[in-house]
């Protein structure tokens, strides 16, 4: 019987660049910046790394394929490097590789680095891409906001919720994240906004306005992981371990079967259930102290509150409006600003989420530090509601 990943791997160093429109930085610059911070944090030498995982989504946009961009940018000592890609959940995928390698005993220290250079396209939003030679023949050339906006109409339909009221709750999601990001010097968007501004913003994809959408950013984030024994040997006091790391990809049911009504993300439910089990958590609402979820759009965060079991079905809009997920609420969500405001350099995002949990658990979150959290959750979703990969990870202080 598999015992899972719980407490088998420690995170001893993390780094994250400032996210944003970093016109002056190349992928190499972003990787070196994030890695430098993590290496100094870990207090180890580069040559102690036994293996590395690189996460980048738009390879055609950034650096091309393969593991070479990481190996070359960091001048790694010819250790195994694996490039992974799992849509917007790519960052967590890179972490999963490194964590599993350490847990398997394949190496003592492993590196996971994710980055994305999105702002070389010449236009706003994500780059255009083909869906493949067959799917281009029948699927709409949809955009990310358009695909996620579907959640809103389906959610409103399912729960008999007026769209106007739903939009208010969605607006609060964005208002909260902007307020949080104002306390985060590395965040892309640090301005405070009001509900009225969100509701009055230019429409991107009905009912999503531009302020319902996350930032499209350049950035990199990374983690250095090792065994708990090695972490102790390095003389770390409190350190962070991985409590759960789960991934659930769609198998086509949402895309083609009527059992899915379009109002939620099926994979998040599956990944969360497994992650809670792996971490030994029975009552997540009580156990989890903070969350970093995949708020690519305000409506995504809203439905994910239910998919993670934090809100009862049909109650997420009420809970959001009551402030349950605000900084001061019961389960603060997106204390760093989330994808919405920290930004969303795709390959880096999962690791950026882990970075915030890591800082908060270690009491290093500065102006936005919560009062002694002990368990944090990340939810990193790649794809569109119709088909996606959802990863749910839980991190905590070592026992």
């Amino acid at each position: 019987m598999a015992s899972g990943i719980r407490d088998k791997v420690a995170i001893i160093g993390m780094g994250c660049t400032r996210f944003g429109e970093r016109w002056d930085l190349s992928p190499e610059d972003l990787m070196v910046e994030a890695f430098g911070e993590a290496l100094a944090d870990a207090g180890i030498e580069r040559d102690e790394l036994g293996a590395a995982w690189l996460g980048v989504f738009f390879d055609e946009q950034s650096t091309g394929k393969s593991a070479l961009p990481l190996s070359m940018a960091l001048r790694l000592p010819n250790i195994p490097v694996t490039r992974v890609e799992n849509l917007c959940a790519t960052g967590t995928e890179a972490l999963r590789g490194a964590v599993y390698a350490v847990a398997a005993g394949a190496c003592d220290v492993a590196l996971a680095l994710g980055f994305e250079k999105l702002k070389d396209t010449g236009y706003a939003g994500l780059p255009e891409r083909t869906k493949g030679t067959f799917e281009d023949l029948f699927l709409p050339a949809s955009t990310a906001p358009g695909a996620f906006a579907q959640l809103a109409s389906a959610y409103a339909g399912r729960h008999g919720f007026p769209i106007a009221k739903l939009r208010e709750a969605m607006a609060h999601v964005s208002v909260k994240s902007h307020a949080n990001a104002a306390r985060n010097p590395k965040a892309h968007l640090r301005n405070r906004i009001t509900t009225e501004q969100v509701l009055g913003a230019p429409l991107i994809s009905y009912p999503l306005g531009v302020l319902d959408c996350c930032g499209v950013s350049d950035g990199a984030a990374c983690a250095i992981v090792t065994t708990p024994e090695r972490a102790r040997a390095l003389g770390r006091g409190d350190f962070v371990t991985v409590k759960a790391l789960q991934l659930a990809p769609s198998n086509g049911v949402e895309m083609g079967h009527q059992s899915w009504d379009g109002s939620y993300t099926l994979t998040t439910r599956l990944a969360a259930e497994r992650a809670y089990r792996e971490a030994g958590i029975d009552r997540p609402r009580e156990a989890i102290n903070l969350m970093e979820v995949h708020d690519c759009f305000s409506i995504t965060e809203l439905v994910v509150m239910e998919d993670l079991g934090m809100s009862d079905p049909g109650r997420a809009p009420h809970d959001i409006l009551e402030g349950r997920y605000d900084r001061e609420g019961r389960i603060p969500c997106q204390t760093d600003g989330g994808l919405k405001c920290f930004g969303h350099p795709i390959g880096a995002t999962g690791l950026r989420m882990a970075y915030e949990i890591y800082l908060q658990l270690l009491g290093r979150a500065g102006e936005r530090q919560l009062k002694s959290p002990s368990l944090g959750l990340t939810h990193n979703l790649g794809g569109i509601p119709n088909r996606n990969v959802a990863s749910v990870a839980i991190f905590g202080l070592a026992a």
Binding site: D136, Q150, A154, I204
Partner: protein, 479 residues
């Protein structure tokens, strides 16, 4: 009385968009004389994703819905076929999911293509039925007379040759053809617009001299006198039609509606479309004369049969939506290049090997139903999508095109490239099972809602400008 063949069923399609002629006049006021009279009515114009082929598919679907068995042949008549070399009729047959054994043929090059194809179908020697579809979407230079008079539309006729089929809509009694290189207008290959000569000359020297003789000959062949004819299908300007009726001694017959008021001239489809409309009001046994004109004359004499009129033209005309924007119409027709942004630069390259491998699925909208659990799915896959089944290779073909659908979710996307913003798409479920994320068409902002019933139509999906290619797929539209 002998018959050349029976016209068993018909279908008609007119694009939903109607451009008021006053909107054209308003936009081009600076071009006209100050005392120009306001032009009445509206003309049918294509949505950005419609062309002669998609119009033909809709007309054909309406016709075949009333047919008892599939036709042996599909003939597509048009002067505006999307492909010069790639059988448009074969693509039409594929969209109708007809068997590979179907004979397919494009007929083009003249406004007589429709009447000519109809007569040929009736004369077919082996007595097997032909689906004749005529469709035209002629482009007109902005500011031209044609811009006001042209419309767009399609008509489909199922023709059984050589026999009198009981309950047919009409019998073709006689057909006479005159070939005369009288060039009233022309369009060279590659030219965007017709070049038309003076109407008075065409009326007097062309129609006025060529048509009466042909009509007389056709009536004689049918054993009828001019006074016997009850309905005249003359795809001509009204004044010209009246003159011709008089010249041919047909004043006693009723001039069929030329559909100018709310459709316009549909090119080689026009006589066939007007005929479909005329038969709606004709009584059984009444003779009908149909004229085709273009480098000669086709004169067809028909007799209304006992078949009940189904009113396809009325239904097609009733499905209308006013297009208030002249510039949007120009843009749809490629006559105005607006800036759609960098997202419009997306490469739309197609892989012909994939198109061929998936031809029935994509062109015929053929999905599948699991033999074991009954789950409908699209696209078909090796392993059943039903989480409680997941059996391998249990799927049987199921055409989804004619199933009713329902909207599960949707969005109006203002970020994506759309030739007619916003880009509307969403999850649609099929009656009996199955779900697909698909595009909506003939819908503007505010038109789609969750739970709305939809039907499916064959449309242009993407245009590959770099390779001068377009690909087609099915879209959802309000039922």
């Amino acid at each position: 009385m002998s018959t050349l063949g029976s016209l068993i069923a018909c279908g008609a399609y007119v694009p939903r968009l109607r451009l008021p002629r006053a909107a054209i006049q308003d936009a081009l006021k600076w071009l006209s004389r100050p005392n120009e009279r306001a032009a009445p009515g509206a003309r049918a114009v294509c949505n950005w994703d419609e062309d002669s082929l998609t119009l033909a598919v809709e007309a054909a679907r309406g016709c075949l819905a009333r047919a008892k068995s599939p036709p042996a042949a599909v003939v597509l008549a048009s002067t505006t076929l999307p492909f010069l070399d790639r059988s448009n009729a074969t693509l039409l047959a594929a969209a109708l999911d007809l068997p590979r054994a179907t004979e397919t043929l494009d007929v083009t090059g003249t406004l007589r293509s429709g009447t000519g194809a109809l007569a040929q179908a009736a004369r077919r020697a082996d007595q097997r039925a032909t689906l004749v579809v005529a469709a035209d979407t002629r482009a007109a230079r902005p500011g031209s007379e044609q811009e006001m008079t042209f419309g767009a539309g399609a008509a489909a006729w199922l023709v059984a040759p050589g026999t009198t089929v009981p309950g047919a809509l009409a019998q073709l009694r006689a057909a006479v053809h005159v070939a005369a290189d009288f060039v009233d207008h022309y369009r060279m290959s590659g030219a965007p617009f017709d070049y038309a000569f003076e109407e008075r000359w065409v009326r007097d020297e062309g129609i006025g001299k060529l048509a009466p003789a042909a009509i007389a000959q056709a009536l004689e062949a049918a054993g009828l006198k001019a006074g016997d004819v009850r309905h005249l299908v003359l795809p001509l300007a009204r004044g010209t039609a009246q003159r011709l009726a008089k010249a041919a001694g047909l004043e006693g017959a009723k001039l069929a509606d030329d559909l100018a008021a709310d459709c316009g001239d549909t090119g080689c489809a026009h006589p066939l479309l007007m005929l479909a409309a005329a038969l709606e009001s004709a009584a059984a046994g009444e003779p009908v004369l149909v004229l085709g004109f273009g480098q000669g004359v086709d004169a067809l004499v028909l007799e209304r049969g006992a078949g009940a009129a189904t009113g396809p033209v009325r239904a097609a005309l009733a499905r209308r939506h006013e297009e208030p924007s002249y510039t949007r119409y120009l843009s749809h027709r490629g006559l105005l290049e607006v800036d759609f942004g960098m997202r419009a630069e997306r490469d739309q390259r197609s892989a012909p090997s994939v198109m061929w491998r998936k031809e029935r699925q994509v062109t015929g909208f053929v999905g599948a139903r699991c033999r074991d659990c009954g789950t409908v799915q699209y696209p078909r896959s090796r392993v059943c999508v039903n989480p409680d089944c997941r059996r391998t290779d249990t799927q049987e073909d199921l055409r989804l095109a004619d199933l009713p659908g329902r909207v599960k979710s949707f969005t109006e996307d203002w970020q994506a490239y759309a030739a007619r913003p916003p880009f509307i798409y969403g999850n649609v479920e099929f009656e009996g099972g199955g779900n697909l994320l698909m595009e909506f068409t003939d819908a503007d902002s505010g038109d789609v809602r969750v739970g709305m019933p939809v039907r499916f139509v064959f449309r242009v999906k993407d245009i590959d400008r770099a390779r001068a290619f377009r690909r087609y797929f099915w879209k959802a539209t309000g039922a």
